[in-house]
Structures are given as structure tokens and as C-alpha cells.
């Protein structure tokens, strides 16, 4: 019974971690102020 409880705790922690990380997601960012280019850039 104690082994089952330990396994359930491990599983719940894994689910909680993954759900939290994916819910937070990546930062949205902002639109770049740089224009679409109409001249040839010198370097990348």
C-alpha cells in the first residue's frame, strides 16, 4: 500500500510539472520594429 502511494505521488508530481511548464508556455514577444528590406544588407 505504501509502495502504491509512493508511485502515485511520483506520477502526480510528473504530471503537475509538465502541465505547469506547458501552461506557462514560451513568452509571446513583440513585433520587430525593423522594416522589410528593400536594400541588400552587407552581412547577416
Amino acid at each position: 500500500m505504501r509502495a502504491l502511494t509512493a508511485a502515485a505521488a511520483g506520477l502526480a508530481a510528473a504530471l503537475a510539472l509538465v502541465l505547469t511548464v506547458t501552461a506557462a508556455g514560451a513568452p509571446g514577444g513583440t513585433t520587430s520594429p525593423r522594416p522589410l528590406l528593400t536594400t541588400v544588407p552587407g552581412h547577416p
Binding site: A14, T30, S32
Partner: protein, 328 residues
């Protein structure tokens, strides 16, 4: 004490073992995404090339034609579309600007490309366009999906405003990276005149009135890094012609632009460097962490069982108790 330690180890074993598939099949599709605010430029060159001289309506050889491609993510537009699409969406405004040897504009094609941030599937929303014309894309454009497969894909061609298969032609090595090589041939097709013509005062409508038409054919090649789905090299054997009408009487035709377009070397190097670093991040989610967690979980389980077994072993018999002293 040993039994308590074995239970803690068991909990960690289950934790890491469960993380392995969760990371690969739940977290990866939700975390590996094209950022909505991406900005990127690319320079391609055709050396030499053929260009039309609009003064004489004859083709002439030029030493170089440059194509500057820029893509810019519109974050506000992607937020707006996400609200109704119910998934993460990227909106790219792109411009393919073709410059002659003197740097003057030969043609330019702006596009708005809307797609799913993870799967690269097109998302059909207001604003999806090529050179101001509304389009409905099928398939991919510019980038392949993460974990690209060895198969044909459908690729959107902006000039013809239509999609056609792009064929997987084998695995190659490019600058030390394993890449998939794809090729697409667009046969001669009549295409619209660009909205912005290179000669002042001439509009596409004025050219259309003369009956002259624009035709295009290309063979495009991509070397795609399969983990990220990012092309690390691209080439195009591009041909454009103006045909017939009052400008070219008697069914005549003239090359408007022809050349073998290749990515400039410095952009190839920077793209390879960028893709190599992104590849490591994707591999972390799809391979390194899932397999590492699985191995760690298995090792912890073995250790836990070992401790549990030792905890259950009966204690070794001790020395015989001394015989009780009998009263004298």
C-alpha cells in the same frame, strides 16, 4: 530506514519514468514553436543573370541579380487570430525584393503567411495574401515542420498562387549537418504581373491592356535540417518571360529574368549556425531528456527494489545467549 529510502526512490523512479513520454508526446508539441515575433532576412544571388531591358524590350546579360527576402512576425495579428483559431498561430509578413546589378528594384512580392506555430499547417484567416491577392494556401512555405519526414510535401508557390508536391530526393550532408534534399519543378505557367512594376508610370493594368502576358517556370531545391525543419540552403533555377501582345507582336517572347539563384555564402554560414543551436534544443525535448529520464527512472527503480529486498531479509542469528547460572 531502508524501507523508507526505497519508497522515496520508488516515487522518483515513477516521476522520471512518467516524465519521459510526457516530455516527448505532451510537452514537445506545446513547447516547440516558431516564436510569433521572429524577424529574419536572407540574401540570394544569381551570378550572372538575364534581365529584360524595358527600353528596348530585349533581354540582356547582367553580372548579378540579388533577391532579399525578409520575414517579420506580426505578434498583434497572431494574438487576434489565435482567439478564434484556438491554437498558437504565427503571422509572417514577408517581402521578396529583387534588385538588379545597380540595386534598383526589378520586382517585389509581399506576402502574408499564416500558419500553426508547431505543425506548420496553414491557417486560413483574413489577410492571407500574395502581392495583395487573397490566396488560400495548402501545404507548407519557407519552412518544413519539426521532425521532417522522408516524404514528399505540398509546397506553396507564391508566383502561381498554387500548391504542388515538393519531392524528397534523399539524405545529404551539408556543412556537417545531415539534411533532407527536396526538389520541386513548376512548369511554364502564366502568372499575374506584379503590382509594382520596375518602370515608373507603367502599371500592370496598362501592360495587361496590351495583351502581353507573364510566364514563369522554376526548379527549386531545398536542403532541410530534419529535426528543426529549417532549410539550411536553397537554390532556384528561375525563368520568367513576357509573351505576345502589342509589346511583343507576332507571338514573340522575351526573358524578363533568368538565373540560377543561390543563397549568399555568409547567409549559409549564419543559417547553419542558427539551425545547429536550435537543433540541440529540439533534440533535448524529443530525445536527450526523454531517453535520459527513462534510464534514470529504471536505475532508480532497480535501486529501490534492491533496498526493499535488503530491508525484508531476516536478521542473521546472533551469538548463543549465555546459559543461565543455576543457583548453587
Amino acid at each position: 530506514m531502508r524501507r523508507r529510502a526505497s519508497l522515496v526512490l520508488l516515487a522518483f523512479a515513477v516521476f522520471f519514468t512518467a516524465l519521459s513520454p510526457l516530455m516527448r508526446w505532451y510537452a514537445f508539441p506545446r513547447l516547440a514553436k516558431i516564436p510569433p515575433g521572429q524577424y529574419q532576412d536572407m540574401v540570394l544571388e544569381a551570378r550572372p543573370a538575364t534581365l529584360i531591358d524595358y527600353g528596348t524590350m530585349k533581354a540582356r546579360k547582367v553580372p548579378k541579380v540579388t533577391i532579399v527576402q525578409t520575414l517579420k512576425g506580426d505578434v498583434a495579428a497572431s494574438d487576434r487570430i489565435e482567439r478564434t483559431a484556438g491554437r498558437d498561430v504565427v503571422v509572417w509578413d514577408t517581402l521578396s525584393y529583387v534588385a538588379g546589378p545597380d540595386g534598383k528594384m526589378v520586382s517585389q512580392v509581399p506576402e502574408r503567411y499564416i500558419f500553426d506555430a508547431h505543425s506548420q499547417e496553414p491557417v486560413h484567416a483574413t489577410g492571407e495574401s500574395v502581392d495583395g491577392d487573397r490566396v488560400r494556401r495548402e501545404g507548407i512555405e519557407y519552412k518544413w515542420p519539426f521532425l521532417t519526414e522522408k516524404r514528399d510535401y505540398t509546397y506553396f508557390d507564391a508566383q502561381t498562387r498554387s500548391s504542388a508536391p515538393i519531392h524528397y530526393r534523399g539524405t545529404r550532408t551539408f556543412h556537417g549537418l545531415e539534411v533532407y534534399y527536396f526538389e520541386q519543378t513548376i512548369p511554364w505557367t502564366r502568372v499575374p504581373l506584379p503590382k509594382k512594376m520596375p518602370v515608373k508610370g507603367i502599371t500592370p493594368r496598362a501592360v495587361e491592356k496590351t495583351g502581353t502576358t507573364r510566364w514563369y517556370s522554376t526548379r527549386r531545391m531545398f536542403w532541410v535540417e530534419p529535426v528543426t525543419g529549417a532549410p539550411v540552403n536553397g537554390e532556384e533555377i528561375h525563368k520568367e518571360e513576357l509573351r505576345g501582345g502589342d509589346l511583343l507582336p507576332g507571338g514573340g517572347k522575351v526573358t524578363a529574368f533568368a538565373g540560377h539563384v543561390k543563397m549568399r555564402d555568409d547567409y549559409v554560414r549564419s543559417t547553419v549556425a542558427l539551425v545547429t543551436s536550435q537543433r540541440t534544443l529540439v533534440l533535448l525535448l524529443t530525445s536527450y531528456l526523454p531517453w535520459g529520464f527513462l534510464a534514470l527512472g529504471a536505475a532508480l527503480l532497480v535501486l529501490s527494489l534492491h533496498l526493499e529486498a535488503r530491508g525484508r531479509r531476516p536478521a542473521a542469528p546472533g551469538p548463543d545467549p549465555e546459559p543461565a547460572l543455576s543457583p548453587a
